[in-house]
């Protein structure tokens, strides 16, 4: 099932001043693979994700996504980002636009669709996340779970090759988490390649092909969820999993 790598990140280093956030991380993701990244806060997992579409500029390293060198100066980063969908912890919907407007904006301005075509595609993207009836609602009129689904629709409407999720459910009330995970599962079943930074361990167990455990800017351990959760090899992962159970 796993085929050629669609993300190939090698020896990624990232420092903020004297602070080393990423210390030589490799991440290779195959097409249609779902990779989960877990780790304590400050372990560098979000930074790694943000390096993949160059929201964060790595200090050194190589990143190739879908055959394109992400860090090369001649790369049209905007064209590349269109193929890398990203979903944020805090949704980041545009508050001055309706749900439809949020999804349609990049379709018009980046893909170059005419208003009617963009809105048609935006509507079908909203329908896919179960929000067809909320097209004309403003973000403030939506629940957190609905906002995050609009954000997913905004990314998915561009038909990306990869989707990056940065703690997509961390800002949600517990009862709203399920609706977002359902949409992510649907995406997964549709064959989307996904890299997910999250603490939703049950989702990881059920859906992930591979789990990476990061700590201190390094990948400490990785493998299929059953191995990683069932038989953690490192002390740090054992300690981390114990700390999660306590919650």
């Amino acid at each position: 099932m796993l085929s050629r790598p669609i993300i190939e990140a090698r020896a990624i280093h990232k420092s903020f001043g004297p602070l080393k956030v990423l210390d030589g991380v490799d991440l290779v993701v195959a097409e249609r693979e779902l990779v989960f990244i877990i780790g304590p806060s400050g372990s560098g997992k979000s930074t790694l994700l943000r390096c993949l579409n160059r929201l964060e500029e790595p200090t050194s390293g190589h990143i190739v996504v879908d055959g394109i060198d992400v860090l090369a100066h001649r790369t049209d980063i905007n064209a590349l980002r269109r193929r890398i969908g990203m979903v944020f912890q805090s949704f980041n919907l545009y508050p001055h636009m309706t749900a439809l407007g949020n999804v349609a904006l990049a379709l018009r301005r980046v893909v170059g669709l005419r208003r009617r075509d963009a809105e048609e595609r935006a509507r079908s993207a909203l329908a896919r996340v179960g929000l067809a009836d909320k097209a004309d609602a403003y973000p403030a009129q939506l629940s957190g779970g609905q906002q995050q689904r609009v954000a997913i629709a905004r990314a998915v409407a561009l038909e990306p090759r990869v989707m990056l999720f940065d703690e997509p459910t961390s800002a949600l009330d517990p009862e709203l988490v399920g609706s977002v995970l359902r949409v992510m599962r649907q995406l997964r079943e549709g064959g989307m390649t996904m890299v997910v930074v999250s603490h939703e361990m049950e989702f990881a167990r059920a859906a992930a092909d591979r789990v990476l455990f990061m700590d201190g800017g390094r990948v400490i351990e990785q493998g299929p969820p059953d191995c990683l959760f069932g038989a953690p090899k490192s002390d740090r992962l054992r300690a981390f999993l114990r700390s999660l159970e306590r919650h």
Binding site: L105, A106, R109, V110
Partner: protein
């Protein structure tokens, strides 16, 4: 004459008012033109400067801050007089109208830049990141995502400032611009009666009351549903 009659004779003298109505009407039209020029060029320049500052170039930002602080610190009248009486020495003699326009437009631009810039800064970084992550470029993000939110916050202080600075057109009376105040003062001198000033005040009211109302409408339009 009783006190009331004296007041009416001095400030609401219909004969004097009728006599100077045409010249103050002419001053009104000139003031409208001057105000329109100041608002259009001042706001446009202020917006442009705020956009340039958002590019994050150190040199450019420093130059903009220098300009802004200078023009916010010096009283506009000083600048108008300096331009009007100073420039001819350099072989270039702009009219009082042009001097007033340029100075007030620059002062408005300086304040507008600060207000819009504060608005841009108040838009959370996540808005930039979300837009950029969908492939929108810097300027498209600024135009479609950041500025609409920034301007919504800026619109109230911006209209306040615009009205305050546009009222400075009265300063043009010092450099021979025949705007409302100059015409009214001339009327007062010629008729030895202050009624033309009352008429001038009315003319300012006619000019600025609609502006205040327009500002309120713009503020309402920019408020999206929360």
């Amino acid at each position: 004459m009783s006190g009331w009659e004296l007041f009416l004779f001095s400030f609401l003298n219909l004969r004097v008012i009728a006599e100077y109505l045409p010249s103050i009407a002419a001053g009104f039209l000139l003031t409208v033109q001057l105000a329109a020029l100041i608002i259009a060029s001042g706001l446009a320049l202020g917006l442009l400067l705020a956009v340039l500052r958002s590019l994050g170039s150190l040199v450019l930002s420093f130059a903009i801050v220098l300009f802004v602080d200078l023009f916010r610190a010096i009283p506009p009248l000083v600048l108008i007089v300096l331009l009007y009486f100073g420039l001819p020495n350099l072989g270039f003699a702009p009219s009082g109208f042009v001097c007033t326009w340029v100075v007030l437009a620059l002062v408005l631009a300086a304040f507008a830049e600060e207000i819009v810039w504060a608005g841009i800064l108040s838009v959370p970084r996540g808005q930039w990141e979300a837009a950029r992550s969908t492939g929108l470029g810097f300027f498209a993000t600024l135009r479609c995502v950041v500025l609409p939110q920034a301007l919504r916050l800026a619109i109230a202080p911006l209209t306040n400032r615009t009205i305050a600075i546009t009222k400075g057109t009265a300063l043009g009376s010092v450099v021979a611009v025949s705007e409302i105040l100059a015409q009214a003062s001339a009327g007062v001198s010629f008729s030895s009666n202050p009624s033309p000033l009352t008429l001038g005040a009315l003319a300012y009211l006619v000019l600025f009351a609609p502006m205040v109302l327009l500002a309120r409408r713009i503020e309402r339009r920019f408020a999206w549903r929360r």
